[in-house]
Symmetry: D2
Subunit: 357 residues, 4 copies
């Protein structure tokens, strides 16, 4: 295992990974000559065509941006007025990890967050929140949109039935529905459905189609399935300084990401490595999973001594906030397209070893 | 001249150019293993050290971002409260080409623009604007900062004396002073001074240090020369979604840009090609320069027939708004590090040929 | 003239006046018992009915607010997205005297100002501004609305033909059209037309219907002539803290303002007193009007010594920025419903006396 | 009891009350002659002096505004940057009843709300929230201020010890501390302490000093106890359109409110009437108070049939969200300076009568 070094032992996040070789190569191939700037280039045009084909939606509109936070914040800002609200879970990335970007981009819209153990939102929570607001009229912030994360911040994957139920309830209250798909591919290959089924066929208005966590350098696409609902997005992106002059290099990443199913292959790899954690760690006495591992994240509760020993050994991961018993610690392990199965296995073996002491 | 094709004839902007090979190579070299994300990487740390050395300011703080608009808007938003104003010229990029990004990032601050033929601001204009506002107190938006562009949107370069005079007047009115350096290197090599002389020694508070137009893919650095004045910048950048998770690839661009004076060599090349336009076109009867060519932009007035013929031949450039006589048209020609001198010469020769018809 | 004291010599603004007795009395009459708050009261309902009758528009929607700046800023914020622009004159109140309120309420929209000697905007200026923006697409702030002031900040009154021409050009470019009617009544009685003719029949989308400068304490109404265009206004007003809990006292002011044509009588009085200035001062050698006096403001150029002598005598007015010859000073004189004709005559007489020295 | 009619039976809120006669009279007395506008008047100056005396703080700065929402939103926007957060309770008025005004005025700051049964915040909750945020750096919104309500939205009154403990913990984390004093007087007379003890001596940075709910028409004062911390407030108020031109009429309200302890007498009356509810209703079998009645609000749980009967009889109050058993309903009863004790007694008697059926 000579090639598996400390760098491979880093499971802090899927964004610690390098760029997938196919994607870096594509950026090099795009580096030919002078080309019209600001998205007036063949790569950007081709990307839209590819996404329309893959999502089976010939009129969708897509806007590449460099970061997941940009994708989310721009998407929701297009869907909610400054005086409106966005229903999401308390642990939603937009609520906890974007330093207020949705509030900023929307001009001060309010995140109306509700609790959820695995960060999946339920239709009943949406309805309850809407009804409570409707009763009080102009005094309270009225919900205008819902944002869900697939897979969620706790590694859970909404089933198609769950998505459709949310889509129905959102439509019934005339709410836009946004999916934060920072780990879209990981959820998709878990379910094994089509991109269309997991999005517009289930009622999504817009999607943050993530690629950075799954092999790109800095590239996501915001997709609106109904072009009329994207009104103002182009202006918002420019005004937020997220339109590159050399935009071809962003689109080239996404084209390579989609080519030959690289995105699906990468996600399958990451999910498979996460299963090494799921099965290996759960088998250790005194260790348990906080949630079923469905995508590429494992949340695991271990004895504090084991966690400390793993850290001392050089494994990289975050301790995570969760209700645990005294002497226990929850950790988050995230795998990526680049994760070495041997490194995951090494962590499992070390944990078993430390657990047996 | 077989290698000079239509792509080389594109003088629309310096951002139509590809990425400098040295910079692309550096990005590839950064693509090794898992690395801490969000700027906690060695490249970002090394970049700060390099900038401190180059600017002879051991305590400056630098924040890489992907676009010039992000650099400008984030810089001014840190320098002016939402209820304040920023003095700039009418043709300033922040006023005309950023879709309101400074207003967005600042929470609604107002650009207080004044006319200038070559987009250089004068100390007297700053003072006049401040005095008019101070008289009316709370009813009018009070200036809190000044933003100048070096080289300007009309290709002019402020001399050191001019910069120092602006620095003095800004300080005397307690105004922050920002320099939009999208073409910083082009101005610097024109003057032949040190980066320190052109910035903090002349009174600049902050600098948008551009690299994208001079060879990078998507990389600029916002520099605050006094760290106390950068308060809140890190939060603003994150919140504006301009902190990359794989930030190493942004910092790697800038490191390569600075290495072995690549940035200065690239700028000298671009400026030299612009001189081909300056001398070649000015020598044609009926053709004149709108302004002296000092950096990498030439604004030229030609007979309309000549302009149309050049366009028909396949040369790329923009017609520009300027007061011209009937039958005349102003155009903008921009050169980059990648501009082929042969292509510039070809345009000059064609213009001469068309002019003689 | 014993009753005309120094307080009556104050022509600084029409907002230095007290509250019209009829309006103050109406507020007292509204002070009866407990009443539903936040606009769910009979006065507010009656006000809407009155405005619908007076404007001959049975479906208009009206929102009372306490200040003219609130009226203007809320109106334009409803008509333009954060990334859009509002065409107005350089001297428009929204551009110069509201401390950036339109930018704040709109979330950073940009005021696209054009010069005008008497602050009247021309259809050609609107078209030019729109065309320049449309050419540059997403890079520049696109106009979404026009705002004009009737009567203007220089006391000029748009004729009906001028208003209709602006209405036509705004409609042709799909721009909303807002009228700042802080001195609406003064303009209306000058023209002698109906409120409908001066507003929606000429193409206005919305109106800031001023009352404070013409006798109210703190009351204006924002009127949308097409209810669909008021979408979100109620939320914006609440969120901007401009919905009073004891809203009846705002509506009661406006009801009294409209009752028995008080508003028209007050405006006629103010305009008539302004004519004392117009005729009296213009007749003095060495004194001239900057603009024809049409409403209740006179802009007059006098020898500096005369101005200083008037100030020394205790007359109140502002020196105004205008291009004047050396030794001359421009002043602004504003009359209100409460202005004493004797006081205006006293100023004229004093000026004549000082001018003859 | 002929004078107690249906209007007196309205206990929906203290803002359904009319204006106290003393205050209305003072507004009439201020209606004399032309006076400098925008707060440059003797009433506004006198108000500052009165507040400095009453709060025993000779350098405090006060800004009158018309609504409680304006007071709160302007205060917190001065205390927190757009990228910062404000710790408050989930039921805080700023979080639930201002349609997002704090978010709007602050440019998108985030309300970091924590649960509390009676809407009192604890020092431990503040510390926990700060520590959780500090750990995650730039990714999460960092708390910059705390806002508490005295008396709270559930009618509870913080004791001086509790206030001082919050003041200490806020200072230790370098957080500003704002008090929403919409019902300041009601809390003050309950405690029986001095205004200074309940505010700056306990660590408050700023106070929304309410008057509207206690007898004024539309008047509150934002007070900063340290003038340096009010930086930018004047500009923010103007820009938010909350500076009246005829500001004397706002200041006159507050002067009359403070004169001869009217504010304290009014609050004592309201609190005393609330005690009629507290004692009278609690004595009815099957009825209980949700919280001790300390100020002028009673939250009471009654059998649903009794509530419906009271509504049918014509009593005015709101059903309130609370965890109640099946067949029970919680209601809120609010008393004001103008509440008739006979009306409160009538409600109690009716409830007893209906309860006995």
């Amino acid at each position: 295992m000579a090639t598996v070094g400390k760098s491979d032992w880093n499971f802090c996040s899927d964004n610690v990974a390098p760029v997938a070789p196919e994607i870096l190569a594509a950026m090099g191939q795009a580096n030919q000559g002078n080309i019209s700037s600001y998205g007036e280039d063949p790569w950007t045009e081709a990307l839209t065509q590819d996404l329309r084909r893959i999502f089976e939606k010939p009129d969708l509109i897509a806007f590449p941006v460099a970061t997941g936070t940009a994708a989310n914040a721009l998407a929701v800002s297009t869907m909610v007025p400054p005086y409106g609200g966005i229903i999401c879970t308390e642990d939603a990335h937009i609520n906890t990890d974007e330093c207020g970007a949705p509030e900023f981009f929307s001009g001060g819209a309010k995140l109306l967050s509700v609790p959820s153990p695995d960060s999946r939102l339920s239709p009943a929570q949406i309805t309850a929140r809407v009804q409570a607001a409707r009763e009080h009229g102009v005094h309270v912030v009225q919900p205008h949109a819902v944002s869900i994360t697939q897979s969620t911040e706790w590694g859970a994957v909404y089933g198609l039935d769950q998505l459709r139920a949310i889509g129905d309830v959102a439509a019934s209250h005339k709410l836009g529905l946004h999916m934060d798909g920072a780990r879209f591919a990981n959820a998709l290959v878990h379910i094994g459905c089509s991109p269309a089924e997991m999005t517009w066929k289930a009622g999504m208005t817009s999607l943050s189609f993530g690629a950075t966590k799954n092999g790109a350098m800095a590239a996501e696409a915001v997709i609106f399935f109904n072009p009329a609902q994207a009104r103002g997005f182009a202006e918002r992106r420019k005004r937020a300084a997220h339109l590159w002059s050399k935009q071809r290099f962003m689109s080239a990443q996404l084209l390579a990401y989609l080519k030959d199913d690289l995105w699906l292959r990468n996600a399958r790899h990451a999910n498979a490595v996460a299963q090494i954690f799921a099965h290996g760690l759960a088998a250790i006495p005194g260790v348990r999973l906080l949630h079923e591992v469905q995508a590429n994240e494992a949340f695991v509760v271990l004895p504090e001594g084991v966690v400390a020993a793993l850290e001392g050994e050089g494994f990289g991961f975050y301790r995570w906030h969760a209700d645990t018993a005294p002497g226990e610690v929850a950790i988050r392990l995230v795998t990526s397209y680049a994760s070495a199965p041997e490194a995951a296995q090494a962590l499992v073996s070390a944990a078993a070893r430390f657990g047996n002491r």
